[in-house]
């Protein structure tokens, strides 16, 4: 088994896709190579997430087939932040479900850290558009819910860590409150804290800020940037907001609707660390306009 894996990894290292991911911005290159076999290790480090010719067709209840994704190729490097932008119904959520292992593709292969995804992995966490907290649990218990749900109990250590993470998202004082006592933005912070507590390597976020007002959205975006600065993670972030995508991402994947395809991948050259003043950069508005025209003309044609 181990031998076979090594073989696979070396094979992967020759494939052209990896080169892209190595050069992708935000990709953390191992600092030095001490051990003789470290070279092999460095080259063969697989990308965090990889879609190869992924097509997905849903069979709806009236037995008609809906092709949500068609021949999607996507590569996301470690600690890279990739946003997915596209019209409603173009398959963005489907990409996240495939990546998380909740869905299996109709054809093609989805792999995470070089291994084919066959079931959900515990190094991937999800954040949804709605906070979806459990209304009968207080905030602290909501944050520790994944552990209670998988193991049946919450360790002292996890409970302490939950409080620390609530501190990070500014909700320490609300630990004992019920979700209904919090605003929408606060609830979404709790949902993010819940995902962060699992300390995932990959964070899949499906329009996490789209239900919030513009001010809260900016605030949370900046907060997310800060969190990722301290603990780098690979993030796939679905959004409808070009601004949000530009502010957060290393790369933006623009999708075409029905069937969903990757239309264009745009690298965001804005310097890090970023903040709200990054939006004042002339490059920012320039790129925003460029992307907007791309999204509109292409989807208008389609």
């Amino acid at each position: 088994m181990g031998l076979f894996d090594t073989g696979r990894m070396i094979h992967r290292s020759i494939s052209p896709g990896v080169a892209t991911s190595l050069s992708a911005p935000g990709y953390a290159q191992p600092a030095s190579t001490q051990a003789p076999d470290a070279t092999v290790l460095r080259i063969s480090t697989p990308s965090a997430l990889r879609f190869q010719h992924v097509t997905h067709t849903f069979i709806s209840s009236d037995r008609s087939a809906i092709t949500a994704l068609s021949d999607v190729n996507l590569e996301v490097g470690r600690t890279e932040f990739v946003s997915i932008i596209g019209a409603s119904g173009c398959g963005k959520s489907t990409i996240l479900r495939l990546a998380s292992g909740l869905l299996a593709p109709s054809s093609g292969e989805v792999s995470v850290f070089g291994l084919k995804v066959t079931e959900p992995r515990n190094d991937i966490a999800l954040v949804f558009q709605r906070p979806t907290l459990l209304p009968w649990l207080n905030i602290a218990d909501n944050v520790t819910f994944p552990e209670r749900h998988t193991t049946g109990r919450v360790t002292r250590e996890t409970a302490d860590r939950a409080l620390q993470i609530l501190d990070v998202v500014g909700l320490r004082d609300f630990a004992q409150k019920k979700p209904s006592e919090l605003s929408g933005g606060m609830q979404q912070r709790v949902a993010i804290a819940r995902a962060l507590l699992q300390d995932p390597d990959i964070l899949l976020m499906d329009e996490p800020f789209s239900a919030l007002d513009a001010l809260t959205r900016d605030e949370l975006s900046v907060e997310l940037l800060g969190i990722l600065d301290k603990r780098p993670k690979t993030v796939i972030f679905v959004t409808h907001s070009i601004q949000e995508a530009l502010l957060l991402s290393d790369r933006i994947v623009v999708m075409s609707p029905r069937p969903g395809k990757v239309m264009e991948t745009i690298t965001v050259p804005l310097a890090r660390p970023r903040g709200l003043d990054s939006m004042l950069d002339p490059l920012f508005s320039e790129m925003a306009n460029e992307i907007r025209s791309k999204v509109f003309t292409r989807s208008g044609k389609a």
Binding site: F128, T132, W136, H149, K178
Partner: protein
């Protein structure tokens, strides 16, 4: 606020007074419609322990039928939600059972199952079962899809998806159905007693009307009403004390 609190009692008292007044004004004979005062008088003719004995008999059937029904309905609803195949095979069967007039199968059940408490309990079960299963299944399905996806992405054991997510979300539905089901259980028990019983409030009503003791029959009816209302209140009390989190927020 104060007035609304006493409104139900005031309505009830006014209705009783109106009933009494109409009977007196039109001098309705007691064997057609007894006055409330006559009902109370008639009730005292029967020894208290006879009443208690019969109330006990009916309550026993109501509670046994409801509890058995509840104990089967909740796990069955979980199975139905868990398996579409089972759902498509069992739900039509449930609809058939629900569509069968309970009054019509009661005599048949008595012949098949004998004259003991068994057919009465079964009849009570049958009448309460459908609303409990359907509402529980709907409640279990009402959990947000995202939470189910979260559960699946965590690879949590399936039973915890039910105990920690789906069942709590189903609680308001289950309570609602239980409120309906307890009152139906009283109906079921009475129907069963009409068909075959030697005790119980339904049996009393049947016997007293046969001998034109309408006052006593009315009293039995009022006792049944009180049982129904109190059982409903018990469910409401359970809801308030144990499941207050499932009640809508008062703002």
């Amino acid at each position: 606020m104060r007035l609304s609190r006493f409104a139900p009692a005031l309505t009830l008292i006014s209705a009783l007074l109106a009933w009494q007044a109409i009977c007196v004004v039109f001098s309705v004979p007691a064997y057609i419609l007894p006055r409330p005062s006559q009902v109370v008088m008639a009730a005292t003719e029967v020894p208290i322990w006879t009443w208690l004995d019969n109330i006990g008999a009916t309550l026993e059937i109501v509670l046994a039928g409801f509890c058995i029904s509840f104990a089967i309905a909740i796990p069955l609803a979980m199975l139905l939600v868990n398996s579409p195949l089972l759902s498509s095979t069992i739900v039509p069967l449930l609809v058939v059972i629900q569509s069968t007039p309970i009054v019509a199968i009661a005599p048949i059940l008595v012949v098949s199952l004998g004259a003991g408490a068994l057919p009465r309990t079964v009849i009570t079960c049958l009448i309460t079962f459908f609303p409990l299963v359907i509402a529980t299944a709907a409640g279990l399905r009402s959990a947000p899809a995202e939470l189910i996806e979260l559960s699946e992405s965590l690879k949590a054991p399936r039973f915890r998806q039910y105990t920690q997510i789906r069942l709590p979300y189903a609680v308001p539905h289950i309570i609602g159905a239980a409120k309906v089901a307890v009152t139906l259980a009283v109906i079921g028990a009475v129907v069963a007693e009409f068909v075959a019983a030697d005790k119980g409030l339904g049996y009393m009503i049947l016997n007293y009307t046969a001998v034109f003791k309408l006052g006593r029959a009315f009293f039995a009816l009022i006792v049944l009403l009180c049982i129904s209302l109190s059982l409903y209140q018990v469910v409401a009390l359970i809801e308030r004390t144990f499941f207050s989190w499932s009640l809508p927020e008062r703002r």
